[in-house]
């Protein structure tokens, strides 16, 4: 696999200029994720209204992959139901680790949006960078303070 497939323009763009960076107000869910191996950190902030993620943002530091993944995640998850967010997580985690996944109905565009990040499947050491923000999102949705 060519490096350019991993570091696609969209990843470099989101890595260097992350969207939805900062803390949303109001915020009724938040969780912290940490990758002890490389020191990447991410905090995901949510404003969940009913069963819907009304607002989502993040703060963190780390490599281009981890920052771009968090940034793209906030873009696709905002406005989704909690169930849709979980479905996107399951699909993305499968694809990022090279496993087959059936695209969740109605989320085709979002899955396509996340596709560039699934290039990490060719770089086993970097998969954690791509999924850290998603694990942290799930922890926040479950009311946990830390992603495990």
């Amino acid at each position: 696999m060519d490096l350019k497939d991993l570091y696609q323009d969209i990843i470099l763009d989101h890595g260097q200029h992350p969207r939805n960076f900062g803390k949303v107000e109001p915020c009724n869910h938040q969780a912290h994720g940490h990758n002890p191996l490389c020191g990447d950190t991410v905090t995901v902030y949510l404003d969940v209204e009913g069963d819907r993620v009304a607002k989502i943002s993040f703060e963190g530091r780390g490599c281009a992959i981890s920052q771009a993944s968090a940034s793209l995640m906030t873009e696709v998850v905002e406005g989704k139901t909690v169930a849709e967010a979980r479905a996107l997580f399951g699909d993305f985690q499968a694809r990022a680790t090279g496993k087959p996944s059936e695209t969740p109905a109605g989320l085709e565009e979002d899955v396509e949006r996340l596709e560039p990040l699934t290039g990490v499947k060719a770089y086993p050491m970097r998969v954690k960078c791509a999924v850290l923000a998603w694990h942290t999102l799930i922890a926040a949705l479950e009311g946990k303070e830390k992603a495990s």
Binding site: L12, Q16, G39
Partner: protein
Amino acid sequence: MSAGAPKLAAATLRPNRRRLREDFPIFGAHPELVYLDSGASAQKPQAVIDRVSRFYETGYANIHRGVYGLSAQATEDYDATRRTVARFLNAREEAEIVFVRGATEAINLVAQSWGPSHLVAGDHVLLTELEHHANIVPWQLLRDRIGILLDVVPIDDEGGVDMAAFRALLGPRTRLVGVTHVANATGAVNPVAEIVRLAHAAGALVLVDGAQAVPHRPVDVQALDADFYVFSGHKLYGPTGAGVLYGKADILRAMPPWQGGGDMILSVSFEHTEFQDIPARFEAGTPDIAGVLGLATAIDYVGEIGWDAIRTHERDLLAHGLKLLQEIPGLHVVPAGKERASILSFTVEGIHPHDLGTILDRHHVAVRAGHHCAQPLLAKLGVHSTVRASLGLYNEASDLDALAAALRAAQRMFKR
């Protein structure tokens, strides 16, 4: 790799002889490999690999047990390694050499054996900001167990230990100073002899972590007057699993065993056990015999090349690498005090070290990217992680050319 790379490396080291790189079969299996991670672990010369294989193929038996020929020979070879290591460090006697798994285990041994038998609540252990986790955490465990206090000598603006602060922190209840000989995250060389002199004048012992020093410079524990000196064999071109604790004989003799089992006893009954004298007292159970034998071969290998040649070679390489890196815009080399040994730690503006690590890997350049198990030091330096290129005797100038070229390629890729 650039075609016009200077050939200073091979030429300096072995005039009219083969390149040292050719002694290491990993480079035959991976001709494109640019290995700049010897600070994490060094590659192994054929002689070491052969020694380990030969032991398993034709000489294997446990030591200190059998009366049969194979066991007697294995025991003799194992004990001979102790002499080899004692000579390597210029220890007074073989009994001062304890075989352990590596530097980490050696420090844990001292913390767990010497610590509780010589320290009481309120005593101080003095460390430096240059330590890696192996020389921090064992002392924290001891602190939590018996209530000692830990002090930390800061680094100065140049990245070396702040000696004025060291003098100031060396107090009446400082019982031990734990200091790295060469900092693994930056390559800073500590003035160990001076630190020992000052510590002894204040009544404290000194443990020197030599893991990053012994592959690159001769170490004379008597000249340093270190009370403990530890290193890992695998960073010295030896197998993993065998390392060394050197301790002054009278200090080791005053320490209780830290692990119990076979090989460390004279006699055992359920009421009472008589322990062996040093060093066997600290070597419970069957050790990594093959690892220890391989370590002896590694020491012989380094000795055959000679310190003068190794130091000249690595000094030239380091200067070459430093120059190349400093020419790259946006690259910042982490300062390493007054003297730097075989390690170049750096950051590149706008590119996270882990992205650099992945990109360099695609250019066949192996480096370490991360916190180097020295999080407190990096925090002090104001970075969360760095890229670390560390040298071994098989490196050549072209390896550093390849590093610089790959870094420039990464910059082109990230330039938007």
